[in-house]
Subunit: 384 residues, 2 copies
């Protein structure tokens, strides 16, 4: 009976990915989820603590975001996954009815918590908020993400600090593979339409990346992420590692470069076949007086803006970039006004989404190379 | 020639006030300015530093505000009145094309700056931002407000701290009267359509209030403010002082109670014939986890909201009050998220504007007394 209802059929269609156009290694694609489509290449604004900081959900949507990212680590500490589940899930809690990807917490456990103890079973750590002890296992990371109601769920991995000795990189990579296997098993009962992504680790060692990718593909995931990059290595090392990893990833699954990045990193990674990105840069920069524009970065703290009646970009579709003078933005920043963070975050998220839309159109038109060259030239126009 | 153009005629109509309905001492009126109508009784959100804190200008408008207040003291220090004038005036600078009233700076000089020296000529003070010396005279206060482009300009007055000896209250009141005279002279060349209000002082001494009001009315202003109240005195003392002052104020000019206040203060003052209000309470409370609602104040810091799926007010027209659970607002407040301040400020400004709209309708319908009783009863419904 249930199988014949149209609603159930719709849900059952679940998660899928199709490539609509290719241009070199770059792909213009579409991910389908029960909560809506995700146009790729996609940039996911980061909604750490159940909010894309300093933005209303409808602004995030109108800026062009199809999907946002939520942080398992932050949400498990506060307000708690069980609480969010009891309140109807993360989508309802934060007023974002569209797709959400949640990370597994591995990265934040490394970067934020203290007194970590990692063993085969799990990672035990102290909350950076109140010192309370928490345990995160691959199974619990899946459970939390299912409680939150994430549309795309990430396996728990171990993210080590780089640089690190190669044997340490390999140890963490192999542990992450065993955790991938356990994550996959734990995910088996998840609601239909939800997807689990594996995470390739292996630092900047090509052979380790190859092994990690190959074994994950053998397990079979709905998508593959590249973790552990953009942690301070030069861009060329990051891009070489991406290229190496790509050799082992199937072309019919989405590829997600975690935590990246600057607009130029995104463009370069798209040129190498990446489909998904997330990064705190546009939101964090927006709270620190830095605007991303078509013509490069603008530091609104700089006194040279104090009398400038021009907006950030008079041709932008985003009111924050188009309708407020640099003089006003400078004033808000100097006066430490919340509206400064609101306007600059909005402008940055809108710019990132505009960039992704332009990238998607360039791929579809087979002119990504020209687009990339023009775009990089434009980024140098704004005075430093 | 110029006088015959319709645009000029429109400008020339300038500032006017008409009373549309009366209910006891309360008045439902309308102020006309070249930048638009102000429905009275009116509440003016405070836009201290050229921003109603944590709100976009279009939210302030959509919440129902016809006019906002700007602070001469803050704007003269940063970014500077001459700079704002060169950028096209305060309306353009902050993206608010509707009426703006600016205060004269007198109150903030008293409450924020250090090393004040007041003499007949002016007040000299150190900026609370960087210690720079500034001088503010009645003439300079008018000049600054004209540079900002304010639609309603306030005379400079001396605001003393209460309690104070009666002879000190009288001295400051008489100085404020002489400054009113000078303000009026300085305002003579102002652009057509702009209005100057005098400010009644005299502490809580009925006779001093009477003298102050009577002498201001003799000079003749477009409107009359009551300053120096809501500085810690009991509500009944404030209301008695208002009643006393009202005896001397003409009924055909708007009456503005400065810096007031709690919703109940506003309601009580409207019942005594006040037409205009401003206060930082709804915006400041919004940044400190406190929501004003039809059913009273809600402290979102309180742990009892942590699991509450209900919004602040499911029947509110404001999305911030209607569409987000108390659990979510509590979480945002606990996590110190900017969105918490954004949503609660929005909810509070919307509630204040809804209250003013309801007050206006009640006066028009001749049922203010019943409305006030019902409203006060409702304010006690929210658990403390």
């Amino acid at each position: 009976m249930a199988g014949t209802s149209p609603a159930m059929t719709k849900m059952a269609t679940g998660f899928s990915f199709k490539i609509l156009a290719q241009d070199g290694a770059a792909r213009r694609g579409e991910i389908e989820t029960p909560r809506g489509k995700i146009r790729t290449p996609a940039f996911m604004p980061v909604g750490t603590a159940a909010t894309v900081k300093a933005m209303f959900p409808d602004q995030v949507r109108q800026a062009g975001a199809d999907i946002i990212l939520g942080n398992t680590y932050h949400l498990m500490l506060r307000p708690g996954a069980e609480r969010i589940a009891a309140l109807g899930g993360l989508h309802k809690f934060m007023g974002w009815p569209y797709p959400i990807l949640t990370d597994s917490g591995g990265y934040q456990v490394m970067s934020l918590s203290s007194l970590r103890k990692i063993d085969e079973k799990s990672v035990t750590f102290r909350s950076h908020l109140d010192g309370a002890m928490f345990e995160l296992s691959p199974e619990r990371a899946i459970e939390i993400q299912n409680l939150l109601g994430a549309d795309i769920v990430m396996q728990l991995d171990e993210c080590i600090r780089l640089p690190a000795p190669e044997n340490e990189v390999e140890r963490a990579m192999r542990l992450s593979l065993r955790w991938a296997e356990r994550s996959k098993r734990a995910f088996e009962g998840a609601a239909p339409g939800r997807a689990l992504f594996g995470i390739v680790q292996g630092g900047t060692v090509p052979m380790l990346r190859n092994i990690s990718a190959r074994e994950l593909v053998q397990m079979g995931f709905s998508g593959y992420a590249i973790g552990g990059l953009a942690v301070g290595e030069p861009q060329e090392v990051m891009l070489a590692t991406i290229e190496e990893t790509m050799l082992e990833l199937p072309s019919d699954k989405p590829r997600y470069l975690m935590g990246v990045g600057e607009p130029d990193d995104i463009l370069a990674a798209v040129e190498r076949g990446i489909d998904m990105f997330d990064c705190v840069l546009p939101t964090r920069a927006g709270r620190h007086a830095l605007a991303y524009t078509r013509f490069g970065k603008v530091n609104l703290k700089n006194a040279r803006h104090a009398d400038n009646p021009k907006p950030l970009d008079e041709e932008s579709a985003c009111p924050a970039s188009r309708d407020y003078s640099r003089a006003y933005l400078h004033h808000l920043v100097k006066a430490n006004e919340i509206l400064g963070a609101m306007l600059l975050t909005w402008a940055n998220i809108a710019y990132y989404q505009e960039l992704m839309q332009d990238i998607r159109e360039a791929i579809a038109a087979g002119r990504l190379k020209d687009f990339a060259a023009e775009t990089r030239e434009n980024w140098n126009r704004e005075p430093r």
